[in-house]
Every structure is written in C-alpha cells, then in structure tokens.
Amino acid sequence: MRPDSVATSQLTYRYAANSALRFPDWSVPAGQSWAVLGPSGSGKTTLIQLLAGLRTPTTGTVCIAGTGLRELTERQRDRFRGRQLGIVFQTFHLLPALTVLDNLLLAPYLAHLPQEPRRARELLRRLGLAGLERRYPHALSQGQAQRVALARALMNRPAVILADEPTSALDDAACEGMLGLLVDEAAACEASLVVATHDRRVQRHLAHTLELQP
C-alpha cells in the first residue's frame, strides 16, 4: 500500500500584515488527479508552494509521499523536491542558455540522480517534440516550450506533479491538449497530479476537486 501522495493537516500560512490563509485538511491517495479551484486570493499558488516545500507553513504539516516536510532540513527539502515533485508553472520557464535536451537533463543533474538521455529523448518523442533536442528555448513556439517544461517535470519520475495555472494563457484547444498530456503523462509515471487553477475548463479532466474559499 503506497502512502498518500499528499496529506495536509491544520495547514495555515500567514503573509506579513495579512490575515492567515487556512487550508482544509486534505489527502491525495497515490495516483489520483485533483483540481484545486478557487478565485484569486484564495491561496492556490500558496498551497502549491507549501506542498513543494518552497514556503514553510505558519502552522500545520505537509506530507509528500509519506515524508513530513517539516522533518527535513532546507537542503534535504531541496533534494526531496527535486526527486519527488515535478513542478509546472504558468510561464513554462526553461533556462534560455541550455538546449531542450540539456534543460531536461538539468532535472536529474540538480537532483543528483543518474542522467538518462534515452529517457529524455523518449519523453520528448511522446510529447511530440522529437527532433528538437538541440534547439534553444527562444527557437520554440509557446506550445512546444510548455511541453518541454512538462517533460522536464516528468524526468525524475516524481511521486506528485504540481501544476500552477498551466492553462490560463491557453485557448480552448491548447488547454484541452495540455490537460490531456498532464493527465496521461502523470498516469504513465504513476504520479499523482495536482492542478491549481481558476480555470473551470480544467475540472472536466480531473477526477477530484478541492475548492478553496477566499
């Protein structure tokens, strides 16, 4: 029995001078896909960052794949994040100085995992990016850059994929395509998927929904 991919309890986060954001206790069994919905200011991005260990909760705990993030030192948390989490941002941020292939290999390199160029090529092929290995990010279309960022998030076979507003800049067709890929690839890696968005189009694709109140 695999532990829950995500489990939070009593989670709050207070920005300086603001009232605290409170998050419902929540658990995501391994392999499930969730949409985290809510209007602006409801703390969707904050929740993603708390799950990623990029922010430390004011109170409460976050467990990812059975590991409590509080128990880790900052360095351990960095490495844990690199190995267990695949993170996709709204702007699909690739390192401009590196080729597509090197952007992918950066993930295992920084997480101190063996680099597998064959896996990188395989991912690129699956995402329809075969032949672009040596391109630089500036020579990619927006859609291609998105898929490269997704491929990079998948490189280290993460337990959980966290996506923050991955579709808000996309038209309907592109949104469908991106969500399809996210769900399919998460399934292929046996990873759980958490998509934070205010975009209601997303809901149809994901089995579960967490609503955040402002």
Partner: protein, 409 residues
Amino acid sequence: MSLLRMLRANLRHDALTAGLNMLLLVLGMATITVLLLLGHQIEQRLHRDAQNIDLVVGAPGSPLQLILSSIFHLDIPTGNIPLEDARWVDQHPMVEASIPLALGDSYRGFRIVGTEPSYIGHYGGNLARGALWDDAHGAVLGAEAARRTGMDLGDPFHGVHGITSAQAGAGLVHADHEYRVSGVLEPTGTVLDRLILVSVESVWLVHDIDDHWSRTGAAREADGVDDRYLTALLVRYRTPLAAAMLPRAVDARDALQAASPAYETARLLQLAGIGMGTLQLFGWLFITMAALGFFATLYNALRTRRHDLAIMRTLGASRRRITALLLLEGVFMSGTAAILGLLLGHGITELLGQFIPQARQMHISGALLLPQEALMVAMALLLGLLAALVPAWHAYRTDIATVLQRRGD
C-alpha cells in the same frame, strides 16, 4: 549535463557582454605578461653580460656610456685610452686580470672587437668550427654574426670605420686590410654572439695604415712616440679591497675613467623600470576595469536570471549550490580570460623576439614561464571571485517563493 557544460552554456548565452569583459582582462594580462617577460629577459641578459667584470676602465665621459659601449656594445665609446695607461691598469697590484678592447670598426652592423682570446673565455664561448685568429687577418665570428652575415670559414671581409649603423653607412671601408674568417663560435646567449672578434694588433694595423690621426709603424718608430691605443679594459679585482681603492686611483689619471658595471646596470634598470612600471600600471588598469565589468555583468544578469535560479531551486538545487554556481561563473570567466591573456602575452613576446631586430639580438623568447605568472592567474581568479561575491550573496538571500509568486495570488 555537467557543471562545466552549464558554465560554458551561460557564458555563451551572453557571449557579447562576457566577451567584452573578458577581452579587457585578456589585454591587461597580456600587457603585464609581455612586460614581465621582456623585463626579466633583458635584466637577465644584462646581468649575464656584466657578470664577473668588476670594473671597466676607459676614456673619461659618461660612465653609463662607457658601460654600454664596452660591455653591452650598444653605445659608441667615450674615446680611447693610451696603451701606456692601459698597461698601468693591467699591471696594478690590485688587478687580477684585464681584458683589452679596441673598438671602432664594424662589418654589416656587427662590431669588430680587437681583443684577446681571454674575452671569449670570459663568456664561455667555444669554437663551433675553425680556430682562433693567429695573425692580424684572422677573425672569429659570434654565432649570431655568422648566421646573419652568412659568412663562414675562409670568407674575406673588410671592416668599415664607425660602429653605429649611421656612422658605418657613411663610413669609409678599410679596403687595405682584409680579414678572413678563421673560426665561428657556438651560441652563448651573451653579447659575444653578435660580435666579430679579432686581435688588438689587427685593429692597430688597420688604423695605422689609413687613418688620418694615426701614423704608420715606421713613423712611430721615427719619432719614438707610442700612440697605440685601446678603447677599454675589462678588469677583475684581485681583492675585494680594490673596489674601494682602484676606481679612485684610475680616475686620478687624466686619460682614464673607471665605471662599475654593477652600479651602472642597476641605474639603467632603474631608469627603464620607471617606464616598465608605467606600462604595467596600464595593464592593471585594464584588469581593474575588467573586474568592474564582471561585477556589473554578473549583477545585472542576476536580475534577469532570478527566475532561472528559482527554477533550478525547484528542480532540487540547494541555496548553496546556486551560490557556488554564481561564484564559479565569475572564477570561470576570469580564469579563462587570464589563461588566454597569458597565452597572448607569450605569443606577442615570441613575435617580438622573432621580428624586432633589437629584441632578436637580446634573444627574447616567449617560451619561458615566470613564477609571477602563477601569481597573476591567482589574482585574476580572486578578482573573478570578488566580482561574483555580491551577486552570489544576493542570490543566496533571494526567497524563491516570492520570485515564483504571481501578482494578485
């Protein structure tokens, strides 16, 4: 993916800015390297030429000129000294040995030096082929003189009156006295290489016959006045005490002047050192500007790269690793530029040594390493590190969550 690959990729990404900054550092390093190499080799050369000569005795005038003309063969002599006075010096009880020099003529830019075989011995010269002169017509060529004039054993030549190229160009050819190459020396790396050595007597003979101010041997015998002369004597002391006494005794004679090679060489180097120092200052100026450029570049890049660095953190890189990466970028840039600068400096020095006649005479070479160069590389690395320090510190302090947080959420 590897560290080196990443450093190179980042350098290439902003190649123009990085290149310009590196160019400044390369130029600074090259300037200083050339000056170091030239200075070191010239100094070494001067010391080698003046080594084991305690005192030079010649005609009154500038002591520096006397040293330049009779040790380094670079300037014109201060004049001649009567043979009688030269003998007085040679037989002085405080003099261990003296080597006579009779100057005044040249052949195709190479000075003809009337002297004794001990002069060759003094610089450790060995015959590559042939033999020493055994009469007033034999001449031994230094290695460089032989190579450049293309002469070899048995070849005849005539000296020209005057020893600077301007003098010799207009000078009269001593057509009546023919020299023949009797021997060629192996290279010694000293002044000997670019001299043509003959007997003192042959120089007298040449000038007895056709010089207006001198007279023939027959005339000399007729009026009983000996007007034979030498240009200078290279003296070695018998006792350290001589250093205090002999120069004064020499200077007391009207026709003579004593000059200390060690003192004059030091003075010469000091004079040249001021020029070298000024040039070196420019080199350091370049390097300082490069360091400031590095700093500005790295600091500016930090703003545009904050997202890149945050992404690297989300991919598992620790704070320390990001900081180290930025520091290494500074060191990598300055280190690369420093090595390129050293290579350029050595290349330029070698070219100078090959193509500038004066430098070629001095056997200037780019193929030697000085310990100071390691120090320069260390300095450059340190500068790169310092330039990267503030940007790296900022990166260390950056909160990635804030960088990644969009506005309004």
